[in-house]
Subunit: 416 residues, 2 copies
Amino acid sequence: MSYYTHLECCECGRTHPTDRWLGVCSCGRSLFARYDLPRIRAEVRRESLMHRPPTMWRYREFMPLGRDEPVVTLGEGYTPLVPLGTVGPAGGLHRLFLKDEGRNPTGVFKARGASVGVSKARSLGVRRLIVPTVGSGGSAWAAYGARAGLEVAVTMPVSDAPMIARKDCVATGARVILIDGTTTDLFRMSQRAADRYGWTPIIALREPFRVEGKKTMGFELAEQFGWELPDVVLYPTGGGVGLIGMWKAFEELQAVGWIGSKRPRLVAVQAAGCAPVVRAFDAGADACEPWERMDTVVPGVKVAKAFADRLILKAIRATGGAAVAIEDAETLATQRRLALEEGLYISPEGAMTVAAGFRLRDGGAIKAHETIVAFNTAAGMRYPHLVRDDLPVVRAGDEIVLAESPRSDRVAPATG
Amino acid sequence: MSYYTHLECCECGRTHPTDRWLGVCSCGRSLFARYDLPRIRAEVRRESLMHRPPTMWRYREFMPLGRDEPVVTLGEGYTPLVPLGTVGPAGGLHRLFLKDEGRNPTGVFKARGASVGVSKARSLGVRRLIVPTVGSGGSAWAAYGARAGLEVAVTMPVSDAPMIARKDCVATGARVILIDGTTTDLFRMSQRAADRYGWTPIIALREPFRVEGKKTMGFELAEQFGWELPDVVLYPTGGGVGLIGMWKAFEELQAVGWIGSKRPRLVAVQAAGCAPVVRAFDAGADACEPWERMDTVVPGVKVAKAFADRLILKAIRATGGAAVAIEDAETLATQRRLALEEGLYISPEGAMTVAAGFRLRDGGAIKAHETIVAFNTAAGMRYPHLVRDDLPVVRAGDEIVLAESPRSDRVAPATG
């Protein structure tokens, strides 16, 4: 027994049955899972969630799995909202929170989509997944794939593949293949291999289940803020699944009567060196032009043109949101400040969203006492190359010197 | 208003006031925080916890902070219990769970102790902490220290200091000092620097607050299992704070009437190359002899002789537990199996505890259907050096080959 009823095309509205794996609609666009929301409204009370374990599966009624379909879970989701009580007020934002997705299994928000996607793949008989990724999606799909006993191949650009992502994909048994080419090569070659060998490609919004996992971020915001959504959500935007997922979540929550009509302004945050959504938003366009030369240290936003670009732009505009591009230097400076002043060593993607909050505050688009949520999508320790550590060594028996100095200085080794 | 009443020596029973920072008793032994448990019993109901956010601070009444003392928190604790449904039954353990402490801030269980210790340090006016560490304690104390605006110095042995620990201590602004010497040198030199410069040394059970953080693992086990404790707890044991903390937690929970008299058998797990607790346990001794030549890839258990060795041995024996030493090869093989078959890429410390469960099962000390909890103390991604990743590179335009092969094989690059 499930409330999941069918798949529906986000563009042409065509409906499809739920009994087999389907990537996209016959028209080529993204599919959304749909539910019997009136029946959820009649049968489920939000207070009943309170007794469930704090993972994203507490929203099981809004998930595309029947009661007899086992869930592949590592205890993902229900991540904390950490107040930025030092950096926030210093930048004029008095109610600024970080939703710390780095606390998910594998240290990355992609765990949410992978948990739903792998659960559904296993239950529908899909056995082999190929995951082209520019960021850390591979880590999550490899881990959940291993848990479900599926075969997973992860393809990454050799120039960008982060060390930690490579290592944990290998650890959890994925076949990891580095591609010496552009991200366009990456996706094309992976699709070709998928077609040739009969593997299932896993690409943002070219399968309908990842977004169902990501939408739980929206459910959590509602529950964590007492069913009154925040004023602004700042989200690092590559493929855009998180933004679209939250937007979908809010629609579903309103349909069942758990929240009202208020929506947060959704803000897509990108790196200045790869900002196709910002460019389209500023130009008033409905779709993105592919970004030509990506140049940024923020791996998670290296997407030249999101497959669901139209949905991203629609969600931003429908909520009165914005799209903001941040220079790498500002992202890295914000990352450093959050670590030094808040004790939060987070991903550059996450730091970028906080920087965007201050940018919008400076420009007057956010007010001082609005409730703002910035998303950190991964743990900082996934990016060790961004920290220099030329450290002093003191020999056994020598003195450790702890002279007075500002916090940011380093202690000098004693000369014995 | 707080239920925290005084500090009490674990050996001589002497009591001390709570209004200043105190490391150890005047007799030199560990101090425990004590509470007005009868009043908690009368005034607090366990059902009231259910409405609180899922962090370790939901047990605030059992914490050594008054209502007016602000908590330094990054949303730590309430980590998931992940069933080991594949590896467990294959090894004869049908109810085996991993308590995944790698999901804490900084990816390590030490966040719990640091959250309480730093909160208390700040509230008592302590401004400078020096943290000698062989494992990842530095990462946690550096992060919480940054959040509280304290000065933190982290000292580590140059031979062992894990790359990720070095990096995130630097990121959060700690002074990191590498010591070219033994762990004995490390502790002696750090203590000397602390005395000379007036910094406060942070060493397991030589300050009374870390154990208060760690004890919340015991509270969580009780709550997560519906206030009926599991049969066996497997815990990687270096300084032993976690074991002692859980033992203390169970005493407190029984005193307030939230659990009965049943205790899990507490099992201290060590590496064969550094197993002072196992040696003392097997010899029937009350205290440990210092381990002479530490030789293990498991950093978290590299403690030659825990300061609280007598308490560790007491807790194990009082609960009918055991002490088990695991060879590194078995630890690493178990780590690999957990990643490949459960999707859990965890620390070697955590893998060691799972291996110990199977060892005890084989020897008959654990029965097939008992409820067993193994603790993983850190995220696997903190140990990238344990994974080899010689990966194939495919040139742009070449074919990706996805031939049939067992999961553990690697794909070969096409020569096309």
